[in-house]
């Protein structure tokens, strides 16, 4: 089933959606297949991802993926946070995501990695 209860729940009530005041790092990117855009803002402290929020205009799978990603990554050392994989997320999403939608899952991963790589200075 594409839309697991977890995806539905996190789409309706995301826990990490929003913005941070004075983020240390931020990045946003677009899924060229559908035009979805997501932005992730991060606060870094003591070599760890201290806090993060996501926002954007995207589908249920992408919102849920971003939400479980940040849930998993917050509190972790930066190198671990930026090394999380699609497999980590798919397991948490409890969903049978088809190849045509896998970019919806991975877009938040590459955006978080972009932020932690410092590809864009936070605005």
């Amino acid at each position: 089933m594409v839309y697991s209860n977890l995806i539905r729940e996190r789409f309706r009530h995301p826990r990490y959606r929003g913005t941070l005041e004075h983020p240390d790092a931020a990045f946003e990117d677009v899924n060229p297949l559908c035009g979805d855009r997501i932005r992730i803002e991060c606060r870094v402290a003591d070599g760890r991802l201290a806090d993060a929020r996501h926002r954007g205009d995207s589908c249920a799978i992408c919102v849920a993926s971003a939400d479980v990603l940040l849930e998993r990554a917050i509190g972790e050392p930066l190198d671990l946070a930026s090394r999380l994989t699609a497999a980590d997320l798919l397991e948490r999403l409890e969903a049978d995501v088809r190849a045509s939608r896998i970019r919806c899952v991975t877009l938040p991963l590459t955006v978080l990695q972009g932020a932690l790589d410092g590809r864009e200075v936070a605005r």
Partner: protein, 406 residues
Amino acid sequence: MSGVGEACRADFPILSRVVNGWPLIYLDSAASSQKPRQVIETVSGYYERSHANVHRSIHTLGEEATDLYEGARDAVRAFVGARFREEIVFTRGTTEAINLVAQCVARTLRPGDEIIVTEMEHHSNLIPWQMACRDHGAGLKAVPVIGDGFLDMEAFGRLLSPRTRLVAAAHVSNVLGTINPVAEIVSRSHEAGALVLIDGAQGAPHLSLDLAGMGADFYTFSGHKMLGPTGVGVLYGRREVLETLEPAWGGGEMIKEVWIDHAQWNDLPWRFEPGTPPIAGAVGLRAAVEYLGKLGMERVAAHERDLTARCLDALGRIAGVTLYGPRNPEIKGAVVAFNVEGIHPHDGAALLDEKGIAVRAGHHCAQPLMKRLGIVGTLRASFSVYNTPAEVERLAEAVKGVRGAL
């Protein structure tokens, strides 16, 4: 085959498929139509009996393949109402056809020249012009989309100038369905001394064409959107215009005589067909236009207008559904773009797919139009000869379930 709708469904083997436990309802023909048995069997029969390379083989199969390929050109010429067979250039598709023209025209551009597109263009009729303008210092202007999805023809008049070299516009918008006033676009462009390219990817499959009467310098379309195979498309070019253009690409077949440092180009239309052309595709496209011709394009257009009207009416009654494009089916092609409140189009398409309903979702390769509409994307139902009113009703029932499904 005896008619449109239910009467021709048996010709399309794929329509008997069951998808996710439901009978397939295929409402994505604007992306690519399904194929009737007549086309499938023509293509496999060609490969089983007559395949060889065209034009340069003296043996029997080579002659048969050449006859079939050139016969396809004649059939397409008749179908679109072109005057001369030299005006029909086979390409791999609409995208290649537009790029071919863009590259030919680009060579003649000078800094300060201008090309006019519209805000509703498919990326295929935008990016090639961006590239041509970028490489040659020319300017790119766009006719705005106003109201329910119409070109602002007053603004078009203001954009036209002696600097305008070419105007590129869709015959039918692949998102809004708007049938653009091509006769007016052609006449006003020609008055300004500009060439006109009409992107017919969504026109040729659905409307009766008279390209000689339309007067556009170029008209482009794809086989696979009009019941034909993938990998074949058509560039129609007015003979007197094609004769003035240097070929875009070089290779075999497009030459008459070659020396080590120069060559003499072949006659039209082969001048623009370097390399081995899409032979099977062209042969299959002939079967497709003959199939459409037997149905009658007036009847095809009337059938699809009826489905579009029913779809606009049924979806328009559902709370939370937003429709895009003209509401009047008389001035609209066979597409209905819509959104469901609170549901991302890709999620909507996935939920409809769970009911066996195939629709398109996303930006439809028209991101500037999406930006103009202020949305990321839409759902889009599109129709062909084989769709029925019952399928439109089932779509509407399923759309009611989409809202609140997540």
